[in-house]
Every structure is written in structure tokens, then in C-alpha cells.
Symmetry: C2
Subunit: 319 residues, 2 copies
Amino acid sequence: MAFWQEYENINQELNEVRNMIIKNTKNKYLGEVIEPMVYSSGKMLRPAFVLISGKFGECDTDKLKKFAMIIEILHMATLIHDDIIDDAEIRRGQPSIQAEKGKNAAVFIGDYYLCQCFLMLSNDYEQDDLQQIARVINSICIAEVQQNYNKRNNHLSVRNYLKVISGKTAALFALSFYMGAKVGNCDLKLCQELGRLGKYIGMAFQIMDDILDYLSDEASLGKENNKDIQQGYYTLPLIYALNNEQGVELKSFIEKEEFTKEDYALIVKMVKDNGGISYAMQLAQTYVDKAFNIIKNLPECESKTMLQDITGKLLQRKY
Amino acid sequence: MAFWQEYENINQELNEVRNMIIKNTKNKYLGEVIEPMVYSSGKMLRPAFVLISGKFGECDTDKLKKFAMIIEILHMATLIHDDIIDDAEIRRGQPSIQAEKGKNAAVFIGDYYLCQCFLMLSNDYEQDDLQQIARVINSICIAEVQQNYNKRNNHLSVRNYLKVISGKTAALFALSFYMGAKVGNCDLKLCQELGRLGKYIGMAFQIMDDILDYLSDEASLGKENNKDIQQGYYTLPLIYALNNEQGVELKSFIEKEEFTKEDYALIVKMVKDNGGISYAMQLAQTYVDKAFNIIKNLPECESKTMLQDITGKLLQRKY
């Protein structure tokens, strides 16, 4: 995995987490349906953050890897259902499960993995941890519902956008950091600080993700890049541009039912010209700054150095 | 609710459970989307069984009602996803959520209610109960996956059918009985006996449900009645008939892509003529007998009388 190759230990442990996922999600009727997702180019950020966070404490690596596995399965379950809604053909450079097996099967397959997570969690975790985890999964669902509700609403506020990505992406990042530290037996204050750090990194990550939809070509992104607008999901660059000078022109343009490649290129140009990308970059920078503010007070260790590195790279992401 | 009107206490408590569901599933973005399902003609068997079972013990009614609510929300979440797969337009005599809000929204709405269950469960239940519950939810998912895998397979065995309905329907009935008794502080042996009773009632109930698809008209069923065959889901009456004398003729007939009303009527006739209905009735009778065998040893109380009544009525169901 290119992303982690500098960090030998994490890279090795993530490979083990991968194998654990394959082993634990096998099903007689499904086979190893998520294997292509697991072995794809996905960066495995969430399980990596569990591992990195856990190493701030006294560390039982097996317990950490198990939680990392659960978090990644949970994330994949949400992706499977996301891809149904988005009609996504490609996920992590591979055919999506909805494209491969059909939408109907994908509903159950996502349900199955979601339930597998709950089953695995109910075996090992205490009630207060389970509550915390259930609340996060719930917040992901609410954010998805909210995002669906916002579809084709061209009066969205930046605040509304931030609320959705906070529930959808940042909450799961925060949980990965918080629970990683908890499983690693860190003291509660450190768990909470790492949780906050996860939230900021998650916000910056999602904003960058949404920016990349406007900048990248399909091949490097590993998924289709003009789906968001076509599906009626408006993200930060567009939301900012809609609320700005050329907003009126842009508004009438995105109301079209179908976009040609040329239409899409024009929207991207208008969003760029109208400052949507640079505004979103600034906001991502703000969250990166918040993240660095937390990192600088963390205890010195290998994990701290890694978090500094990764956070530094967030704004330079190309894929 | 016609089904429970003879039993004033249960009827009253089920009304309270209904109101609790409405109150606890409200969502800013969804509104009261499941309200029509809650106030429809659904028999609320699962929550009723929680209440009836709990009354075998020392009973904290509020705790019982809360668990009854969670079980019904869980059941509704699975129905919402089922209806996506089945293209069902009608559910409990009302437009289904997938018909009303679209398939995409229905994916999230089902996820949301499923997660609400886990959130509510994680607040109140001990680890061994949570494990039990998670295992059942998992078994429902596996059965759905299995059922989907079996689609359009005209070599299905009765054993395979029983395995699917055992995971899909009977497991949730068993859980309602078992956990009702557990919440009602019954001793473990009684909880387990009631769990077994729930399983047998669930098996009989599902077999009757599948028989009714061949006997009823749409209006009294509250859902479309020829969907199963059209969708490629083959249930007991058809499975028996396929494995029997006229099986070959039936086999070539159900392989058609589209059925007219006349085709469907002919299939129904062939299934009936070939003994599919009477075989299924016999099997339902076997499970009813097993249920009565357990009931007769239960301690004398109002709940026992009710279970006798209800079990006696299972085979007379018209809807």
C-alpha cells in the first residue's frame, strides 16, 4: 500500500488487518465478496488511525487490530450502501458491489456486514464503548439521511455542509482515534484529545476529497468524479460558488437534468473562477491547523511523528 | 387492532408501544416516515409476544414495552429493506417506503432504524443479551442473503426453505419470546422454553404466510400476492409441487420472465392440484403441534391462555 510504505510497522499490521477482514467476513452464500475492496487501493485510514492511536498507550496489538478490522468493515458496509444510492460503478478502482451484484443484493450485503460489526462488537466491548460506537454509527446514518434530504438544494449553507461531513466522515475518524486510544489503555483525557484530533483530520480529509472531485481525472481518483453534481450532491466548492458572485448563472446551469462532459467542464471552471476551490482549501487549512495544535501537545513517540507527517500531507493529497 | 381486541390489556399496551415507536423514531429530516406502517393493520405479533412472554415473570411493564418497541422497529427496518428488493408497492395496506420515497432513500431509512435499535439496545442491555440479539439480527441477514442466493433456483429442497424461514422469521419470533421472558425476570429454563415456542410459532406463521400468497386476494392480504414467484422467490407450496408429479411442467412454466394474471392463476392451480398447499398445511400443523406440546407444560396464567388461543388460530389465518 503506497500510502503507508514509509511506515513499516503500520503497513505490516494493516496487511494483517486485511487478512483478518477476509477471514471474518467469509460467508457461504456471499463468498469473499468484499475481497476486491479489501485488496484495492483504499488507504485504510480508519484502521491505521486505530493502530496509531493505540500505540500512544500500553498496547495489546491483537486487540487493536481487531478493533481496526471492525472499523474498516463498518466503513465498507456504509460504502456498499453509498454506492447503491450514487449508482457508483467503480469503488477504489474496482467494480462496486452494486454494479457487480445488483442493487438488491447490495442492500443485504451492506446489512450483513453492518450486522457482523455489531456481532463482533457485542462480544468484546463494554457498554459505554458500545454506546459510543452506536452513537457514531447513528450519526453516520443521520448524516446520510440529511445529505439525501439536501439533494438538489442549491441554497445550501456552508454550515449545513459542515454538519453533514462532520456526521458522515469526521465522526468515524474521531471514533477510530478515540477507541484506538481507549483499546490501547490511554488515559481518558488523551483518548478525548485524540478523538478531537480525529475529528479535525476527518473534516480536512473530507473537504479535500470534495475538492479533488473538481480537480482530478477519473483514473487517479479510483472512482467517477462528476457523480456528485449529477446526483444532486453539492459539496463545499460548489456551495461557496453558488453563494457568491457568479452564483445566479451557476444555479441555472446545475438545474439541468443531464450533464454532458462539456457542461461538467464548464461547471468546474465556474466553481474555480468563483473562488470555490480556494475557499474550500482555506477551510481545509483551518482544520489542519487545529489538528497541528493538538498534535504539538501529544506525548513524544513514533505515533506522534506519524500523525505530524500524515496531517502535513493532507492538503497535498492528489487522490 | 382487530387481532388483539379480545385481549384488552395487550391491546392497550400495544397502543402504548405504537406511540413510543412514533416518539422515538422521529427525525428532523425524515419526519414521522414510519407512522403509516405503525398505525396500519400490522398485527404487531413480535412486540405482543414480548409482552405476553414477559408476563410469565415478575413484570416491569415499562421495561417490557421498551423492548417490545425495539423489536418492532427492528422488524420494520428489515421490512423497509425487504420492500426495496421485492419492488413492493404496498406494505400493510399502505404505500411502501420504497414506493413513496424511492429506493435510494429507503436504503438509508432502513439503515437509520436498524442503527436506532442498536443505539437503544446499547443503552440498556447486558453483554450476553446484546450478543444474543446481535446473533439473531445476523441470522436474519444471513437468511436474506441465502434467500437472494436461492432466487430462481427451481431445485430448492424443503430443507433449504425451512433453513431460510428459520433464520428470517422464526429467529425473531424466538428472540421476542426469549427476551420478553428474560426482561420479565423468568428463570432461564422458562426463557429457553418460551424461546423454543417462539421458534415453532414463527415457523408455522411463515409457512401460513407463504400459503396465503397462493390463496388470498390482494385486498385482504394488504400486499401484492403474486410477487414472490415473479421475483423468483419460491416458497414451500411451490417447492413441494416442483419436486412432485407435475414438477416438470411447472418448472418450464415458472421459467418465464413475465407472468400475466392468467399465467399466475395457472401456476396457483398447478401448485394446488399437485398437493403443494396441503403439504404445506400439514407441515404448519406439525409446528403448531410442537408449539402446543410446549404450551401445555407452561405455568398457568393469563399469558398461557392467550398463547393457546393464538396458536390455535394460526392455521385459520385468512390474512
